[in-house]
């Protein structure tokens, strides 16, 4: 990630790198208190200076102070003027600790506290101060990030310093980043040789530098830079295509997850389950509830939510089946009416019992952010997990439907209920199990969606239409169809979006579905044969 | 019973049995040609280079083992299934392969399905009404009136099929055999030039079978009839020419006696006992 930094900040940062090696020293309590007090009353410019002083103090508590300041957790007790660190800032009473001693001071009403104001600019400065230290830490990953951040911001003194660091650097990736950063600087100085270093780089700063050079006065350098840019452009095009494909697959896998449960309840059983979305919603709320039960362990909670979400939704599904759907045998269309009613009830139930507001579901660390394939292509982790999850759920379902008796029995029951019963198939049990399964899978989808979108009473509504669309587009009753339909609709949508915009892309996809159904009136994978023709 | 007797009086011409004027050109004698027709499903050849000619006014019986392709052949003639290769002509003017089901039906080809198919939510009477030959375009259908004439014709068919008492019943409640009769009745209402009758007597008693036999033989001459049946007694009672289908092509053709003496037919179809 590239950030523009001011020259002043950088020179100061370098200064700090030297000072911080003296860490362990302590400033006097008085001195520290004075600085912190000063911070509370100061103007932006003054704060900026105090922050540097704090950082430069070499006090081992400085990092703590800076981080608290940056996180808006440095506060002043209005009455006494004492500076405290807020250790918990939820609700109306906040837990605080003395900033100097670290001693806990219990809870205090928000009214009594005045926050030490911070803003993005100051936060940026603090982050820089902290992160430049990172250039010398042991972890190469941290060094790499720091080095990348320097691209496009190098000046003469820093260049010298970097050259020094480069000599000691043994990690090739960090070396490369440092070299690029230096090359950008040299190119700016008119050094034509730097073009060669930057030729293959996907870094946007490198590209900006090359573009500058291509517009420059030296025809030779300009020509070389233009060539380098062209080859980078080519690489970028490929990367963008890969990115679009990834976006498409990830959108597609969300569609698949949302639809796959419906592919069972609707596609196989023939129940037009308008409450499918609400079953997903239950899965998502289960995740939220799990995280409430296990505060501070969002990851564990999420993993436990997978079975829990399945069970909750499955139980709800079974209740719906027993109380409503079983009375509608042979009247598949009426299930639309009844489950529509159920969906209204479930939505309002959540509004009444929990809240009409969205709930916040935390993304565990291992699912946040993205993994970088190269500087032009990173894959967001939450989506990557969702793609994997969708495939696993799909495979599991396929296994159940293909390899267990349930798969056979449910198809027999839906195709000819009376005959299936005459063959000894316990139709009622099959109904319960199947509907429970489809509902449970909806719950799983909800668990996954909680990592992508709102967890609120409207969650179901936003997916129900798409889900039906996917199932039908794929061909009712065909799980492979659902998979392929979801993935392809997702991909088409994402391919269209860059040039058509989100709204038009969606419209085009819908029109595409309408036209496609003209060509294949029974979806991607139609039920073939005499029986299907009716 | 009485209608049955009336029917056997050959000199009496029932107007409802007369075919509708159809533009079909039968000057060359034949009303239906199938030439080199083949069709396969997922690689399975259900019809294999089938050649068949039905003459105008002929009553033809088609027999053959289960899965020989008899029903599929009818599907091809009526436009339900498109063959992979070959040609199918109705008279010498109409290439059936270029037409869809309603057009083919409008030309005068009527069909009774192997599994009786009637409109279950409509009454027996209404089933017959819809089947009746008439202008079947949308607006004429909307403005069509129920005349005494039509009512009489439907009544006649009801009588003939023994469904008088059930005229107001929904077709959905009919027993299997009653549905068979209803479908035959619908075929009669339609007054086609060519009737394709798939297993008309399945599920009928011997006596009903006889009645059906009389009915079909009575139609022949004015209309062309193709009957598929597995009941040899029935076939024998109506058959003039019999075609034996096997694995999608004609295995033998001739009179009932010739065919039933054919050792191949005995082997694949009739069995030693027959």
């Amino acid at each position: 990630m590239s950030i523009l930094r001011s020259l002043a900040r950088l020179t100061f940062a370098l200064h700090l790198v030297l000072l911080s090696s003296l860490a362990g020293a302590q400033v006097s309590e008085q001195q520290a208190a004075r600085l912190l007090q000063g911070l509370a009353g100061a103007s932006q410019a003054e704060k900026s200076i105090i922050v540097r002083e704090l950082a430069g103090s070499g006090d081992e508590r400085a990092r703590n102070w800076l981080e608290a300041f940056s996180a808006n957790k440095l506060s002043r007790i209005k009455t006494t003027g004492q500076i405290v660190i807020v250790t918990s800032n939820r609700g109306r009473n906040w837990a605080i600790a003395d900033a100097l001693t670290g001693e806990s001071l219990g809870e205090m009403s928000r009214r009594e506290l005045e926050a030490v104001q911070v803003n993005n600019t100051l936060r940026g400065e603090v982050d820089d101060l902290l992160s430049v230290i990172d250039l010398t830490v042991a972890n190469p990953q941290v060094r790499l990030t720091a080095a990348r951040a320097l691209m496009g911001t190098v000046n003469a003194p820093l260049a010298e310093r970097l050259n020094g660091l480069l000599a000691d650097e043994d990690n090739p990736a960090v070396r490369e980043a440092l070299e690029s950063a230096l090359a950008i600087y040299r190119l700016g100085q008119g050094d034509g040789a730097a073009v060669a270093v930057l030729a293959g780089s996907l870094n946007p700063q490198a590209r900006a530098a090359l573009a500058g050079a291509a517009r420059g006065d030296d025809p030779q350098i300009a020509a070389a830079a233009t060539r380098a840019l062209a080859s980078i452009e080519q690489k970028l095009t490929l990367n963008r295509a890969a990115e679009t494909l990834y976006f498409g697959l990830s959108l597609g896998s969300v569609l698949v997850l949302a639809a796959i449960g419906l592919a069972i309840t609707f596609g196989v059983m023939g129940v037009i389950n308008m409450a499918h979305g609400e079953l997903m919603m239950l899965g998502a709320y289960t995740t939220w509830g799990m995280q409430q039960l296990l505060p501070g362990q969002p990851g564990l909670a999420l993993i436990l939510s997978i079975p829990a979400g399945f069970l909750v939704a499955a139980m709800a599904g079974i209740v719906i089946e027993r109380s409503v759907i079983q009375h509608l045998k042979g009247r598949p269309l009426e299930t639309l009416l009844a489950t529509f009613g159920v969906s209204l009830i479930l939505q309002q139930l959540v509004r009444t019992l929990i809240s009409p507001l969205n709930r916040s579901v935390v993304t565990p660390d291992w699912m946040s952010g993205s993994i970088m394939i190269n500087e032009a292509l990173s894959l967001t982790l939450n989506r990557l997990y969702v793609i994997g999850f969708a495939l696993v759920v799909f495979a599991g379902l396929m296994l159940i439907m293909r390899k267990t008796r349930l798969g056979l029995e449910v198809r027999a029951v839906t195709q000819n209920r009376a005959m299936a019963r005459s063959m000894g198939i316990r139709a009622t049990r099959v109904d319960i199990l199947t509907f429970g399964l489809g509902s449970g899978v909806a719950g799983l989808a909800g668990v996954a969606l909680s990592q992508i979108t709102n967890v609120g009473p409207n969650l179901g509504q936003s997916y129900i239409i798409d889900s039906f669309m996917v199932v039908v587009f794929g061909g009712v009753g065909n799980l492979w169809g659902t998979l392929l339909a979801g993935l392809s609709l997702g991909t088409i949508n994402q391919m269209l979006e860059p040039w058509a915009g989100a709204v038009l892309a969606k419209i085009i996809v819908l029109v595409f579905i309408i036209l496609f159904i003209q060509k294949r009136p029974r979806g991607l994978f139609p039920q073939k044969g005499r029986a299907a023709e009716g | 019973m009485s209608v049955f007797q009336q029917l056997t009086e050959r000199d009496r011409v029932f107007d409802f049995l007369a075919p509708v004027q159809s533009p079909v050109d039968v000057r060359h004698g034949a009303i239906l040609y199938l030439e080199d027709v083949s069709v396969s499903f997922d690689g399975f050849r259900a019809i294999n280079n089938l050649n068949l000619t039905i003459d105008d006014g002929e009553l033809r019986c088609i027999i053959g083992p289960n899965g020989a392709g008899k029903t599929t052949m009818m599907d091809i003639i009526t436009g339900k299934t498109r063959p992979d290769t070959g040609s199918v002509w109705f008279g010498s003017r109409h290439n059936l392969l270029t037409l869809n089901e309603p057009d083919i039906a409008a030309l005068g080809i009527g069909r009774k399905f192997q599994k009786p198919t009637v409109f279950e939510a409509l009454t027996v009477f209404e089933n017959l009404e819809l089947a009746m030959a008439a202008d079947k375009r949308v607006l004429p259908t909307l403005t069509a009136l129920m005349t005494q004439d039509i009512r009489d014709r439907i009544d006649e068919v009801l009588l003939l099929t023994g469904l008088q008492e059930l005229r107001g019943a929904l077709a959905g409640i009919l027993s299997h055999g009653q549905k068979q009769w209803l479908e035959i009745g619908m075929l009669l209402m339609q007054r086609p030039r060519l009737l394709l009758v798939d297993e008309p007597v399945a599920g009928m008693t011997e006596q009903e079978m006889e009645r059906t036999a009389e009915l079909l033989t009575g139609l022949a001459g004015k209309q062309s009839v193709v009957v598929v049946e597995h009941d040899m007694g029935f076939v024998r009672s109506i058959a003039r020419t019999v075609t034996v289908l096997h694995q999608g092509s004609v295995l033998a053709e001739g009179t009932m006696d010739q065919v039933s003496a054919n050792p191949k037919v005995i082997e694949v179809y009739l069995g030693e006992g027959a």
Binding site: R92, P356, N382, A502 | -
Partner: protein, 409 residues
């Protein structure tokens, strides 16, 4: 005792907007309860009449009619989306009702019967852009919005404003998405690309409602931190943040006229009352709630001043009424039926609250007709006699149609 004063509450309690509007219903109930505890007004108690227009726009009109014609309420507090207000507008005008509308909106409207206690674009959007430009040095702009009238108009105004300030076409990117849009991958990637051209870039977001959660999630996951490309939102408040994991969002901005975190006793009292009323320690307050607080108090003051709840009298009395707001200042009802508000810019903190990083030195009066739209540049609104016009054209010297006709009725 006299008949109670009937207060109609027209907020969606079900459907997509319940998420935002149901808290406003509760706010009103709380305010009414407080007022009654304080003895009501003019010796009369207040009675709330709650209906649910269910996020269904035509139903808003029907319910407004029900409130005015059937329930005979004296005043209505309600609506969130502009379309619902547009739907209700002809009804309140026809039946001569009073409507207090508490949400920030696109402007371009001034009805004799409506009081706009939310922000007009000049009370939110323009100051926010000024802040980004002057304090953060932003040079490149992404205007991202949900595809409906409020974002469209706001962005139109901002576009004109930015261009007037010399921002080039190429430095403005405009993007619209449908309601409830949840797949932000491509758009965020696009923004990232747009922001990597070497100039400081910011996103001005008029993205509404449910689309925000996945949007911010995607920002976080694609690593767009506030320090790189800050997002300033006009429709994301404390209530929306309550449904988002805010950890990755620290530093992104919002512009409002009120934040829950404002350090002020009136605000703390309001919050305490709200928490008690809801029985939920974690209940949050937000800007539209403050707008209702202001609107309600203005109404009470106006009724006191007029000595009656009679609509025309209240209408006349309320102009000029000044009540304290929750941020330590005062709100005055202007002749154009908009109010004066301070503009605050806050940064999101990890606890779902905003910390104020900038505010206007004084309050700003709401402008019904934007100076940055060609059609409305020349219009002003003044509901005092003798002008009594919501859209007076200062060039032609004439009062525009529609509302004038009603006024003369």
């Amino acid at each position: 005792a006299e008949d109670p004063i009937k207060v109609g509450i027209l907020h969606s309690l079900s459907g997509t907007m319940a998420i935002s509007e149901s808290a406003l219903k509760d706010t009103m109930l709380m305010l009414i309860e407080q007022q009654n505890a304080a003895g009501g007004v003019l010796g009369r108690q207040l009675e709330a009449v709650v209906v649910d227009p269910a996020s269904d726009w035509p139903l808003f009109a029907e319910k407004a009619r029900e409130l005015l014609a059937k329930e005979k309420v004296d005043v209505i507090f309600g609506n969130w989306t502009s379309v619902s207000r547009k739907s209700v507008l002809p009804v309140v005008e026809e039946l001569n009702g009073l409507l207090f509308y508490p949400v920030q909106y696109e402007g371009e409207e001034s009805s004799e019967n409506v009081f706009y206690t939310g922000a007009a674009p000049n009370q939110q959007a323009i100051p926010a852009v000024d802040y980004l430009k002057n304090d953060l040095g932003v040079e490149r702009w992404v205007l991202a919005g949900t595809d409906y009238v409020y974002p469209r108009t706001t962005n139109k105004i901002l576009e004109t404003y930015l261009k007037d300030q010399g921002v080039a076409d190429a430095d403005i990117m405009i993007n619209y998405t449908p309601f409830g849009h949840s797949n932000w991958q491509a758009i965020v990637a696009e923004i990232k690309k747009f922001g990597s051209a070497g100039k400081k870039t910011a996103v001005v977001s008029t993205i509404n409602g449910d689309a925000n959660v996945p949007f911010y999630r995607e920002l976080g996951n694609q690593g767009l931190a506030a320090s790189d490309i800050p997002v300033v939102a006009f429709s994301v408040g404390e209530q929306e943040l309550a449904g988002i994991d805010t950890a990755p969002l620290v530093g992104h901005l919002a512009a409002w006229n009120y934040f829950m975190s404002v350090d002020n006793d009136a605000n703390y009292d309001f919050i305490d009352a709200w928490v008690k009323f809801k029985g939920d320690d974690k209940a949050v307050t937000n800007d539209p709630m403050e707008a209702h607080y202001i609107g309600f108090n203005m109404y009470i003051e106006a009724v006191k001043k007029a000595g009656t709840t009679e609509v025309d009298a209240v209408k006349d009395a309320i102009i000029g009424v000044t009540v304290p707001n929750l941020t330590g200042g005062f709100a005055a009802m202007m002749p154009n039926h908009h109010i004066t508000k301070p503009v605050l810019i806050g940064e999101i903190q990890d606890n779902g609250q905003f910390s104020v990083v900038w505010e206007t030195s004084s309050t700003v009066a709401g402008d019904a007709w934007s100076d940055f739209l060609p059609g409305s540049r020349d219009l002003i609104s003044d509901w005092r006699a003798p002008l009594k016009c919501g859209n007076f054209n200062v060039v032609t010297g004439k009062c525009g149609g529609g509302t004038a006709e009603v006024a003369s009725k």
